[in-house]
């Protein structure tokens, strides 16, 4: 999983737009969207919304949580709670990031929103790092990742899972060489890429 793939997944989230054109139903792999009538709100995948917005074919209606007041509340909760709090969307950071880049004129107080979002992100990242550190030091074999979003999980890959694999291997009794010398002469498993 790579950052651009996580973003790709986020682009499938649905969002409301107000088109300035008339068009029939669009048959996409992810489903049917439309019909579109100028001035009437319609729901489309985020990637389509951004594409239309870039060609000035629509206005984007930001998700209900993408405003300073709601985000300030989320930030407040996030800084007080020791654990991760639930975010308004599984892809809150990606959706916000995409919208603020492509359609900042459609979002009131876009500048302030950016600042609060960064605060929320940073405080959650700090928690992520601290808990990774703790987990590895204690030699934990599993971790609960409740309320972590995909982008946040992506940010600790590959470090966390690879380190945990390393700890698991160090706990094992026999070494690779011992296994090899036992099977010497017979065929070997093909290399894992």
């Amino acid at each position: 999983m790579d950052t651009c793939e996580v973003e790709f997944l986020a682009e499938r989230e649905l969002i409301s737009i107000t088109p300035n054109f008339d068009l029939g139903v669009l048959h996409l792999i992810s489903g049917d969207f439309g019909p579109f009538k100028a001035g009437l709100p319609a729901e489309v995948p985020l990637w389509l919304a951004i594409n239309l917005r870039q060609r000035r074919k629509c206005r984007i209606m930001p998700p209900i949580w993408l405003n300073v007041k709601t985000l300030e509340e989320i930030k407040e909760r996030e800084t007080q709670e020791k654990l991760f709090t639930k975010m308004p969307s599984e892809h809150f950071m990606e959706v916000a990031q995409l919208l603020l880049t492509a359609a900042s004129e459609d979002i009131p107080q876009a500048g302030e929103i950016k600042v609060v979002l960064k605060d929320i992100w940073d405080s959650r990242q700090a928690k992520t790092r601290a808990s990774c550190s703790l987990l590895l030091q204690d030699g934990g074999k599993h971790a609960r990742v409740d309320n972590l979003t995909l982008m946040e999980i992506n940010s600790v890959r590959p470090l966390l899972p690879h380190s945990m694999d390393m700890i698991r291997r160090l706990q094992m009794e026999s070494s690779m060489e011992a296994q090899i010398s036992q099977t010497q002469g017979s065929s070997f498993a093909s290399p894992s890429q």
Binding site: D2, C4, E5, E7, F8, Q184, P191, Q193
Partner: protein, 192 residues
């Protein structure tokens, strides 16, 4: 000491990053094979000596055999890791590797790459000609704004239109048609 030459091959591969391909070291490969031949012959001799219930040579035979196995492991690992790197480079650069890379391959590797290219092409033809190697990330747009880094000359697009790629000229080209030129260093993507 046994296995030292063979380890030089492995060291060759670890001195560069895993993405780069050092020159095929045919001389060292030859020397390793020679060491293996000598080990094998001496073992044959000692095995024959041991037939008359004299087991004192068994340790020697085992040690040489371990050295043979080690040499074999190093040789195979050298070849397999090189093939993996060549395959990865094929995905990065397309079916024709840049001269600098191509010169590092030995004859058998060139042959292998040709076969690999053929299999890949056959497989992709089965997918209605979809070029699997083109996008390594989900694409964002159909067209890309690019700057030309060298005098490349006329470039014909799929729709028949011709574009003159001159150094420092700027073009808006269909993504699928200019990606390979970007990888080859002819064009440079201008991010927005």
């Amino acid at each position: 000491m046994f296995g030292v030459k063979a380890f030089e091959l492995i060291r060759d591969l670890t001195l560069t990053g895993p993405e780069a391909l050092p020159l095929y070291n045919s001389e060292t490969v030859r020397q390793v094979l020679e060491e293996m031949r000598v080990l094998y012959e001496r073992n044959q001799r000692d095995v024959n000596n041991s037939v008359n219930e004299d087991s004192s040579y068994l340790g020697t035979v085992h040690l040489r055999h371990a050295a043979l196995e080690r040499n074999k492991r190093c040789l195979l690992a050298y070849l397999v890791n090189r093939l993996q790197r060549i395959r990865d480079l094929r995905w990065d650069f397309g079916s024709v590797l840049p001269g600098d890379v191509a010169g590092s391959l030995c004859e058998q590797e060139v042959q292998w790459l040709q076969n690999y290219n053929r299999h890949l092409a056959t497989y992709m033809r089965g997918l209605d000609g979809l070029d699997l190697t083109q996008e390594h990330c989900p694409p964002k747009s159909l067209c890309l704004e690019v700057r030309c880094l060298q005098d490349y000359g006329l470039f014909e697009l799929e729709d028949g239109e011709q574009v003159l790629l001159k150094k420092d000229s700027i073009h808006l080209l269909p993504r699928s048609e200019c990606l390979m030129l970007i990888r080859q260093g002819v064009l440079e993507h201008i991010p927005h």
